[in-house]
Subunit: 324 residues, 2 copies
C-alpha cells in the first residue's frame, strides 16, 4: 500500500485543492511568488490535506468548507517546515535545496511568517471561526513542542512522558486538528469531531514513533551501517528509552552517560544501536505504536461505513507498516 | 514633550495591561518563560498599546475589549521585532542583547512564531473576530513589506512609490490597525473606525520618514560623523530620493551609481550625506511628514473633544518633532 492509494476516493478533490492552494499563496511581491512557486514544485505527500478530505468524507461529506480547512492546515504545515529548516540549519528538504539554503535565513523566516499568518487569516476571511478554535491549541502546541525539544536537547536528558509530550505537541496536534477540521467542515456533531480528533492524535503519535524506529532500523545503502541520525544529533527517542528501561540499571546508566557525552563517534553510535536492539527497544516501541493504531481504528467503527472510513483505517495501518 | 506625557490619561490602564500581558505570554515550557521574562524586562515604549487605549478613549471609551486588542497588537509587534533581529542578524535591541544573540536563531524563530500565533489566537479565544478582520490586512502587509525591502535591497534600486509602499506595509499598517482596533473596542461606528485607521496610517508613515531623516541628521557622539546606518547598509530612503529628484540628472546618476556600487567607505557615505543636505532632501522629506501629520490632526477634529483626542494629536506632532 502506498500513499497514493488513500487518495483514490478524493483524487479529484485534491487536484482542485492544489489549484486553489496556488491561488491562496499568491502575493503582490515578486520575490514571495518566486519562493511560493518553488514550494509548490517541491510539494510533499500532502498527508494533512488528505486527512482533512478523508475525515470530512467519513464524517458526512466533503463541502466547500473542506477546501478552506485543507488549505489552512497545509499553509500552517508548510510554514513550520520552512522555519524548522532554519532552526535545524537543514540544507535539503524533499530532495531539493531548502528555502534557507537557496534564499538565506532572512527570506525563509519572512516567508514562513507570511504563510503562518496566511493560514490563520484564510479562516478569518472565510469566517471559519470554528476552524480557528480547532487550530488554536495545535498552533500553540507546535511551537511549545519545538521549544521543549530544544530545551531537552541542550540537557540531553529526557524520559518517556517528556518524549510523548513532545511528539504529541510537535506532530500529533496538527494531525488531530486536520481530522477535526474535516469533521467540522462536514457539519458533523461535537462527538464526531472529538472522535476524529482522537483518531488523529493517536495516528500522529504512532506515525512519529514509526519514524523514530525507522531511524534505528534503517541502514545506509553503501556500507549497511545504521543511519541513526537522531542519536548522532543527541536526540533520545522511544526505542532507546524502552531499551534503557529494560536493561539492568548499571548498563542503562553507562549508555545514558555515553549519550550525554557530546558528539558521538561511529563506534559509540553502533554501540547504542546494538544496545537498543539487544534490549528489545524496537519491538517495545512498535508495540506502543500498534496499540495506538488499533485504538484509532476501533474508534472509526463508530462512524458509518464508507470508502473514506476505509481509507482512514488503511492510512492508520500504513503509518506503522511503512519502511520509509 | 516625551512619550510618557501621552500616557497620562491612560496610566492606570497601561499598568493593568502590563500585568495581564505577562499572564498572556506565559507558557508551560520553562525555556519559553525564560525568554518571555527577558522580553518583558526589556519592554520598549509600548507605543502600539498606547495608541489602542488612546483611540478607544477618543472613540467612545476604553472597555475590557480594549485590553484584548492592545495585547494582540503588542504580541504581534514583539513577534515581528524578534524575527526582524534574526533577519538583520542584529545583536542588540533596546540596549540589551537580542533574543537571537542570547539564545541563538533557533529559539528566536520559535519564540517569534509562538508570539505571532498567540497574538492572533488571543483574539480567537475571546471571540474578537472584528479584531482579526481589522488585523488580517496588516499582518499580510508586514511580511510582504519586509520581503519587498529584501528584494529591493538586493537590487539597490528603489523609487518614491516603492519607498512609500514599503513604509506603509512595514510600519504604518500595524499602527493604523492599533487605532482601528481601539475604535472597534469602544463600540465606535464604521466611519469612526475608518477615520482612526487613516489617522494611524498617516502618523505611521510620518513616524518612519522622521526615523529615516534622523538617520541623516544624527551625528556620532565622539567624532561627530554622520551615523547614516541606512545608506551604509544600502538602504535608500526618502531624503536621498528627494535630493536625487532635485539635483541635476548627471549628479543624481553619479550618486545612484555610487549607492549601488556595494559596501560604501566612509568617504562615500559622507559624500552622499552632503549631497542630500545640499539638495534639500531633509527639508523635502520633512515637509511630506509634516503634511501627513497635519492631515491626521485635521481628521481628529471630527471626533468629540477629549483628553484622549488631545493626546493623539500630541503624539502625531511628537512623531516628527522627536530627535531620537
Amino acid at each position: 500500500m502506498t500513499e497514493t492509494t488513500f487518495t483514490k476516493p478524493i483524487a479529484d478533490h485534491l487536484e482542485r485543492f492544489n489549484r486553489s492552494l496556488a491561488r491562496q499563496m499568491r502575493s503582490s511581491v515578486p520575490l514571495l511568488n518566486l519562493v511560493v512557486r518553488y514550494l509548490l514544485r517541491s510539494r510533499g505527500k500532502q498527508l494533512r490535506p488528505m486527512l482533512v478530505f478523508l475525515s470530512a468524507g467519513a464524517a458526512g461529506g466533503i463541502t466547500e468548507r473542506t477546501y478552506i480547512g485543507a488549505a489552512m492546515v497545509e499553509l500552517l504545515h508548510t510554514a513550520t517546515l520552512i522555519h524548522d529548516d532554519v532552526v535545524d540549519q537543514a540544507t535539503m528538504r524533499r530532495g531539493l535545496a531548502s528555502i534557507n539554503a537557496v534564499w538565506k535565513n532572512k527570506v525563509a523566516v519572512l516567508v514562513g511568517d507570511f504563510l503562518l499568518a496566511r493560514g490563520l487569516l484564510l479562516a478569518v476571511e472565510h469566517r471559519e471561526y470554528d476552524f480557528l478554535h480547532a487550530t488554536a491549541d495545535a498552533v500553540r502546541r507546535m511551537s511549545e513542542g519545538e521549544l521543549l525539544q530544544v530545551q531537552n536537547f541542550r540537557k540531553r536528558r529526557t524520559d518517556e512522558s517528556m518524549y510523548l509530550r513532545i511528539v504529541g505537541d510537535k506532530t500529533a496536534s496538527l494531525i488531530a486538528t486536520c481530522c477535526r477540521i474535516g469533521a467540522i467542515s462536514a457539519g458533523a456533531d461535537d462527538d464526531t469531531q472529538a472522535l476524529l480528533g482522537t483518531f488523529g492524535e493517536n495516528v500522529g503519535i504512532a506515525f512519529q514513533i514509526r519514524d523514530d524506529v525507522l531511524d534505528y532500523t534503517s541502514r545506509t545503502a553503501i556500507l549497511g551501517k545504521p543511519t541513526a541520525h537522531d542519536i548522532r544529533e543527541g536526540k533520545i527517542t522511544l526505542p532507546l528509552l524502552r531499551a534503557m528501561a529494560s536493561a539492568d540499571p548499571d548498563e542503562a546508566k553507562a549508555i545514558g552517560q555515553l549519550v550525554r557525552s557530546g558528539p558521538l563517534r561511529n563506534g559509540s553510535v553502533e554501540r547504542i544501536v546494538a544496545f537498543v536492539e539487544r534490549h528489545g527497544g524496537i519491538e517495545s516501541a512498535m508495540a506502543t505504536a500498534q496499540q495506538l493504531v488499533a485504538d484509532a481504528i476501533a474508534l472509526l467503527e463508530q462512524l458509518p461505513h464508507s470508502e473514506y472510513r476505509t481509507m482512514l483505517a488503511a492510512f492508520a495501518r500504513y503509518t506503522i507498516e511503512r519502511n520509509k
